[in-house]
């Protein structure tokens, strides 16, 4: 029986606006250019987020992303396809992902 992957997806906190409190979810998928966020908080398509998460021991604060697509499952959770907006942050992610991959 394989271990439940849900609790090993990357925990992430994010903000939709500076004056609003942070929310949270998990990244089910991450690449230098896009990501998939799973969260029970509802967000509109097209919204921009600032993500904070840890990868390979390194902190990634305020990674800017936009919700390109949103889907909802039957339990009431939301799956958001995110596009990473900042090229520099994207390069840093590429390096961190490459480093975090098993050799």
């Amino acid at each position: 029986m394989s271990r439940n992957r849900a609790d090993s997806w990357i925990p992430v906190s994010f903000r939709t606006a500076l004056d609003l409190p942070q929310l949270w979810g998990r990244l089910a998928y991450l690449s230098p250019s896009d990501a998939e966020l799973v969260s029970h908080f509802h967000l509109p398509e097209g919204a921009e987020l600032a993500l904070d998460f840890e990868l390979g021991g390194a902190l990634f604060p305020a990674v800017r992303a936009r919700i390109a697509e949103a889907a909802h499952d039957r339990e009431g959770y939301h799956n958001y396809r995110l596009v990473i907006l900042d090229r520099e942050q994207s390069s840093l992610l590429r390096a961190a992902i490459a480093k975090a991959l098993p050799r």
Binding site: R3, L23, W24, V38, D73, G76, N79
Partner: protein, 379 residues
């Protein structure tokens, strides 16, 4: 029943609120006032998920780890008292499936309750297949790569298996003579020595010394490590927590413990110390203060040192001339005792132990020499 959930909440007022919410959600809710109560009921109730009120004793991280220890696939969801994203992320890293924000309402808990019920130890199934179209071609490329890797792996395995191999040594004499603590890491072994007041980092295969860190202000008498900390027991009974940086920078320290422990280990959840003179093993709450939770009497003949991992507590017993396996839940009962070959030397005195990846590491003084050796852990 498939919709049974267990809720750990000490506050009667909050339990009343949660009772109403879970009843409206159609859940069969079983309430516990604390972790011990919950663990006692877990086997009988067999809940589909556990909800834990945050901000109570013991901390939610401890509750999470204890629950996952007995039921690794059970979804656990902390109920935060307010919207606190950093706390939620911290708890998710500790193993929570997700966190509910306060104030607790039916709307807030509904998706978490439904998601927890639908999991039951399986992978989360996402309905949104449309999000995965791009990954199909990547999956095909990966399948080809895996096939090639499998062929190469088989070739390599066959070569390794059927080629003659030189036996690697499992015992090494040390260039210092009073080792007191040992921590085995991925490819290095760290040993403390009380006389030279130093930490020696050895290459695990050759035992050549890679680095020496001097600790001129303290006399280390025992040592233990976790993923991000090193604990050193000083000769005055104080336990220092140090970072795993180059200088092993001190982060905090406890009050002095009496009697002074001469062995220590961390099982992933709790910190353990032992005093070989009185034969006492103590279980400590994790954290900077390491408060003693409970003390146990070592059940063997003569305790020399302890080590632990997530499954067992190990003890070197000079009286039995063996390594003794003890249960973490009941360290006063011996599970097994396996003779240690090195005890054939009458002057051998084991001074420290560590458990790592199925191997037990020891340091010992043997007359005027000191050595480190390892054994595969007994089955």
């Amino acid at each position: 029943m498939f919709n049974t959930v267990q809720i750990i909440c000490a506050s009667e007022k909050e339990r009343a609120v949660l009772r109403g919410i879970f009843s409206a959600l159609g859940a069969d809710a079983v309430f516990s006032i604390d972790l011990n109560d919950a663990l006692a009921l877990l086997e009988k109730t067999r809940p589909a998920a556990v909800f834990v009120a945050d901000g109570e004793e013991p901390p939610a991280e401890i509750t999470l780890r204890e629950l996952r220890r007995v039921a690794p696939f059970l979804p656990v969801i902390p109920l935060l008292k307010r919207r606190d994203a950093s706390r939620a992320v911290e708890l998710m890293k500790a193993g929570a499936l997700d966190c509910a924000q306060g104030p607790w309402t039916q709307e807030e808990l509904r998706p978490l309750y439904r998601k927890a019920l639908s999991l039951g130890g399986t992978l989360i199934e996402l309905d949104s297949l449309g999000l995965r179209r791009k990954r199909r071609s990547l999956a095909l490329a990966l399948a080809v790569a895996v096939g090639l890797a499998g062929f190469a792996g088989g070739l390599y395995y066959g070569f390794r298996r059927f080629s003659p191999r030189a036996l690697a040594p499992h015992s090494f004499y040390l260039p210092y003579f009073h080792p007191t603590g040992i921590v085995a890491k991925a490819d290095t072994v760290l040993i403390s020595d009380w006389f030279s007041q130093g930490l020696y980092e050895h290459n695990m295969k050759t035992f050549g010394i890679r680095r020496v860190t001097s600790l001129p202000d303290i006399t280390p008498v025992a040592m233990a490590a976790s993923r991000d900390s090193l604990w050193i027991v000083r000769s005055d009974g104080v336990i220092e927590r140090r970072l795993l940086d180059r200088a092993y920078t001190k982060a905090s320290q406890t009050r002095p413990f009496r009697p002074v422990p001469d062995s220590a280990c961390f099982d992933g959840l709790y910190f353990w110390t032992a005093d070989s003179r009185s034969g006492t093993i103590a279980k400590h709450m994790p954290g900077d203060k390491l408060e003693v939770l409970k003390e146990f009497k070592y059940p063997g003949k003569k305790l020399s040192a302890i080590a632990c991992d997530t499954r067992f507590l190990w003890a070197a017993d000079a009286g039995l001339k063996a390594v003794v396996k003890l249960s973490l839940d009941d360290p006063e009962t011996i599970v097994s005792a396996t003779p240690v070959e090195e005890y054939g030397s009458p002057s051998l005195r084991v001074t420290a132990m560590d458990s790592k990846d199925g191997r037990l590491w020891f340091t010992a003084e043997d007359g005027d020499k000191a050595l480190a050796f390892f054994r595969n852990e007994p089955k």
